[in-house]
């Protein structure tokens, strides 16, 4: 396989006396969907926040396209091409789709010394990008609050792709969604991957992960069990690893294998 876009080596992150990450290594390649699985509190969020420049690792090394990198601010990560779509914080519901789409990257039109927000361009691009993703807007000035949860995730993903993300980190994009919306988001992930973008898909739902994932890394209590290719691992094994093995097997037995 070619050189990975991002390599995270032995990342450790301590918050005071709490060890949130105790040496996690993951690499992300272009055009793959890398699923990061783990139960609540496994350190998934801390890990992706380290990747996206929100937290600085206590120990460990991050290589971006082979070069060591230290993000001071989330902005640095965005400029390098690492885009993160957070579950609840992807969009601002009170604002229009096109204002959201270009938030932080507003197109500018110059009139002498005055720079104006180029609404025409923003509206046009927004409509085109939304159509590509299969979302029909009433108009670019429609508020995001009128969109469904899945559509909001899709807008956020389309936004990241449009602004040249090389790595797209999705923080539990499907956890609050219905069946149909989940399917839409998963197919969006598939489209994005086909464009050569590395996708990091964080979830605790093994079925969603198996549907689009190429490789899987399971986090448990701040550690990783290593990374497996799709054909090397079964959903049951992933489930077991996420829950820490033994206990879930017992639980599952008593529930008749429904978990």
């Amino acid at each position: 396989m070619s050189q990975p876009i991002i390599q995270m080596k032995n990342i450790e992150k301590h918050f005071g006396s709490v060890i949130a990450l105790a040496g996690v290594s993951v690499d992300i390649h272009a055009g793959e969907c890398h699923c990061l699985l783990g139960d609540n509190g496994a350190g998934k969020s801390t890990f992706i926040k380290t990747m996206s420049g929100v937290h600085k690792p206590t120990k460990g090394e991050i290589l971006f396209e082979g070069k060591p990198l230290n993000f001071a601010r989330p902005r640095d990560a965005i400029e390098a091409g690492i885009a993160t779509v957070y579950q609840d914080l992807a969009m601002i519901p009170l604002m229009s789709v096109s204002r959201n789409f270009f938030m932080g990257n507003e197109p500018i039109k110059k009139f002498g010394p005055i720079s104006m927000f180029d609404h025409e361009y923003a509206n046009e691009v927004t409509m085109t990008e939304m159509r590509k993703m299969g979302i029909n807007l009433r108009g670019p000035d429609q508020a995001v609050g009128t969109l469904s949860g899945g559509e909001r995730q899709t807008v956020a993903i389309a936004r990241a792709v449009h602004f040249g993300a090389k790595v797209l980190i999705l923080d539990e994009p499907t956890s609050a969604l219905g069946v149909r919306q989940t399917a839409n988001v998963l197919s969006t992930i598939d489209k994005v991957r086909a464009q050569g973008i590395g996708v990091v898909f964080i979830t605790h739902n093994v079925r969603h992960a198996m549907a689009v994932g190429d490789r899987f890394t399971v986090l448990n209590r701040g550690k990783t069990y290593g990374t497996a290719m799709k054909d090397e691992v079964s959903p049951e094994e992933l489930q077991d690893m996420m829950a820490g093995g033994q206990e879930l097997a017992t639980l599952e037995g008593s529930l008749g294998g429904t978990v």
């Binding site: 914080l89 601002i92 009170l94 604002m95 938030m103 932080g104 990257n105 009433r138 009128t146 969109l147």
Partner: protein
């Protein structure tokens, strides 16, 4: 992207809306309805009272313009997700500082005005800095400054001049170029001509005989219009305007995409202080004096105007034009009741009713636009 854009099939669950409805449903709708209502009411009840002749019109225009100046600042700040309760005290403080600098210390008035602007905008920045750094609600931080600034406004003139009103500003500001920018009147020739052709009445006796009863547009009104225009332009037509909406809509989401939320908020606190100072300078130039009680409760009048104009108290949504209409409603009601001969204490009743109606209407409009539940 390499794939060709495919048109998604029209969604059968998206209702088409008429263009008329689209044009009607906007944040300012509540303000527009309120303005129509208020004007209809006073045209019916107070038309003969002189409320709508030149003098009467100028009367409520000036009062509305005063509200508008502070409402624009409060509006942008509220959309950015914060409050400024120190506006009223800032007005008193700024006026007093100008008086102390120019009358007591004898500085040229233009220097006094400029220094006061720098000082007040600095205090606005401090307000913002404390809010942003501590994460405390701006309600509390600016409430503290409401008392701090009012305290100084009473303390300083008492200590220096042994009184709470400093007068004599008109004498020192006469002929000052910067003072004229706040206290002067424009279009005097036009109004003289209006008087000459009989469009507006003229004084018939006394020293002003032959002069029109309204002899120009006060700079206060020009400031109000300029601030409304600039505020509306910045909010809707610039990148910074998008950041204002984003900072108030959801600060964390805005930070994640690289919006400098803290800078935006501090800048809006500074702008609010700027507007308060403009108000103060105009007032001081008009009255020729600074009083320790000036600007009392102005912060609430600004906030009421903004809320009547359709802004959301929690931020992220609003309109400068709406806030300007709110200020107009406020001014017309306050002066109109006087013209209509209504007992002045009923002003508050009337205002409360309008506030309630406008806010209820605004809430429905906003839900229609934003899909809030």
């Amino acid at each position: 992207m390499t794939e060709t854009p495919q048109t998604a099939a029209p969604d059968e669950r998206v209702k088409t809306r008429s263009r008329f409805r689209e044009a009607l449903i906007r944040p300012e709708l509540g303000g527009i309805c309120g303005t129509l209502l208020v004007f209809t009411f006073f045209l019916l009840t107070a038309f003969d009272s002189g409320m709508f002749n030149a003098q009467g019109t100028m009367n409520w225009t000036i009062v509305s313009a005063q509200f508008a100046i502070i409402a624009v600042g409060a509006c942008l700040l509220m959309i950015a997700g914060e409050f400024d309760l120190s506006v009223g005290s800032m007005i008193g403080f700024a006026g007093m500082m100008i008086a102390i600098f120019s009358v007591t210390l004898g500085w040229p008035v233009w220097i006094a005005i400029l220094v006061t602007f720098v000082l007040c905008i600095g205090i606005g920045a401090l307000n913002g800095y404390i809010v942003v750094k501590t994460g405390l609600p701006s309600f509390i931080v600016t409430l503290a400054f409401l008392f701090i600034l009012r305290g100084f406004t009473i303390f300083l003139p008492q200590t220096i001049e042994r009184k709470t009103i400093i007068g004599g500003i008109r004498d020192v500001s006469d002929g000052d170029w910067l003072a004229a920018l706040f206290g002067g009147k424009v279009f005097k020739g036009l109004f003289q001509w209006f008087g000459d052709i009989g469009l507006i009445s003229t004084f018939e006796r006394g020293t002003k005989a032959g002069q029109p009863v309204v002899d120009g547009i006060p700079m206060l009104v020009i400031w109000a219009l300029a601030l409304i225009f600039v505020g509306h332009f910045v909010l809707n037509r610039t990148r910074f305007g998008n950041w204002i909406f984003a900072s108030g809509g959801n600060a964390q989401a805005a930070r994640y995409v690289g919006v400098p939320v803290n800078r935006v908020k501090i800048a809006m606190f500074m702008f609010s202080a700027f507007c308060a100072t403009v108000f103060a300078v105009c007032q001081v130039m008009e009255f020729g004096s600074a009083g320790a009680d000036r600007g009392n409760l102005k912060e609430f009048e600004a906030i009421i105007s903004v809320v009547i104009g359709g802004a959301l108290l929690t931020g992220g949504y609003g309109s400068v034009l709406g806030a300007a209409l709110g200020a107009l409603i406020f001014g017309v009601v306050q002066q109109g009741l006087f013209f209509a001969g209504v007992e002045s204490s009923l002003f508050r009743v009337f205002l409360g009713v309008i506030l309630l109606l406008a806010v209820i209407l605004n809430t429905y409009i906003r839900r229609m636009i934003t899909g809030e539940k």
